[in-house]
């Protein structure tokens, strides 16, 4: 066990997935249902989560917005990738957090208050805070590798400037 993960079981799972060529496409399906007002529920396999808008935009503020989920998804993807890669390399992690901050090029376009530009992310900063039993140079390289191989990171960074930072704590 390393970082709470059964390393042998992980390796066996990787071998099995790697033996199936169709795994590369990793098809995903999500169904979204309108509940009420600006509230929605997304069904993913046997899971579900809800999305809302803040009260100042006529929502009930009962859940995060879609864009917040995207930012959260990037953060969790990067954190997952770091722990996944660290575990494979035999690195024990003590603590880990990713702090993200984004800006949108022109959110007013979505609200119908402007026409110039687009309302998507144009800048995301993702900072990793980590305590781990490894040389700082190894952890920096691991963070670079995580960014290069992040599914969500790649989905965004091909259109968005994604700025990574790392703070290795003693």
């Amino acid at each position: 066990m390393r970082n709470g993960i059964d390393v042998d079981a992980l390796q066996a799972a990787l071998n099995a997935v790697g033996a199936q060529p169709e795994s590369a496409a990793a098809r995903k399906r999500v169904r979204v249902r309108w509940l009420d007002r600006l509230k929605f529920r997304a069904y993913v396999r046997n899971h579900q989560f809800e999305v809302d808008e803040p009260t100042h935009l006529a929502g009930d503020n009962a859940n995060p917005t879609s864009m917040e989920y995207v930012l959260g998804a990037l953060g969790t993807c990067l954190a997952t990738g770091f722990v996944f890669n660290a575990t494979q390399r035999g690195i024990a992690i003590g603590n880990l957090e990713v702090s993200l901050e984004s800006t949108q090029q022109n959110y007013l376009v979505f609200l119908g208050l402007a026409t110039a530009g687009h309302p998507g992310f144009d800048q995301v900063t993702a900072k990793l805070y980590v305590q781990a039993d490894a040389d700082p140079a190894v952890l920096r390289e691991l963070w670079d590798h995580t960014l290069r191989t992040s599914p969500v990171g790649n989905s965004l960074s091909r259109a968005v400037t994604l700025t990574p930072e790392i703070d290795i704590l003693p």
Binding site: G94, N95, E97, S99, E101, Y129, Q131, D167, L169, P170
Partner: protein
Amino acid sequence: MEHSLPLFPVTVVGSWSRPSWLLDALRKRQGGRMTGEEFERVADQAVLEALRYQEEAGIDVVSDGEQRRDNFHSFVADKLEGVKLLTLAEIMDLVEDRAQYERVLQAADAPAFSIKNETVVDTIRPRRPLALDEFTFLRQHTKKPIMVPLPGPYILARSMWVKGVSDKAYPTREHLAVDVVKVLRDELIALRDAGCAFVQFDEPVLTDVVFNRDVKERTFMCGSMAESTGDPSRELLFATRLLNSVTEGIDGIRTGVHVCRGNWSRKDEVLLRGSYEPLVPTMMGMKVDRLVLEFATPRAGDLDVFARYPKRKQLGLGVANPRSDEVESPAFIVKRATDALQYFEPGQIYLNPDCGWGTFAERPMNTADVASRKLRAIVEAARELRRTVG
């Protein structure tokens, strides 16, 4: 003991960067993988190492480097019944308004797991002394006068009371403050009786009161989670009343208050900045002997804030930035002390860094090597001042 000090005594503000083996032990202890006794044995060695650095640098009044503490105020969780050390990550799972803590973390440039807050979960009462054991150990290993830093009553009352967690024991922080004052007053008397030269009460959150516009926000100001009324005047009066309740009528020991603008990041731009001017009347009303203040960087403002209060109190003059690699020149330090002589007698001026070298165990601001070289520069400047002024 203080009578034997030379002019311009050199001292510290408290903390020394912890060696990695001490941090390992601290994490094991906090994770329940090391007993308190085992940790104390490791910390003993770290204290002796911190002491050796200070003595070899030639300073006049030493501390134990706060080596046994997680940070300058959270350590009380070990010493008081009814107080638990919770990480900000744990607190965020307990409270409703998590967004305010995210703003705190952004401002602090810190992860939630690295910030620990002593949080009242029940009525507080002493389990063991706050710092008397630290003093007693150090006393056995040095002949030099010892300074002991303690968290001030204001920062403790603010930081320990967390809405949604603490209000079952104390309805308000003001109710909690009554018991905090009693604990600190008893500790001050115990340290006095044991022969301690100087007790410094750390109240860095006072700058937060006057510099942060929206003081209702919980802030990270030097680790304090900082519950506040949002009224600066009321907060300053409250802080003064609390500190005076701790020190009033206790003779035979020197006391001081340390106020800085933050020591949690090496990025100057995320720390508070501004003159001490709005705080000087408050500090002058505090019944303490010494004001321990930062004056090593332009961020700290100027010494002329004391023009209206000449020679009223001792000054612990901050002359070294604990967050930089560049060692201040003795000439710079001499100049700073000379500036202070416009408002203080030579015998009133102590020389010290702006703040500790490792206020937070997990976020040291400097290495022992740089800290040591900075102290040596201050010692050299003090010798020059004694030659020219003394």
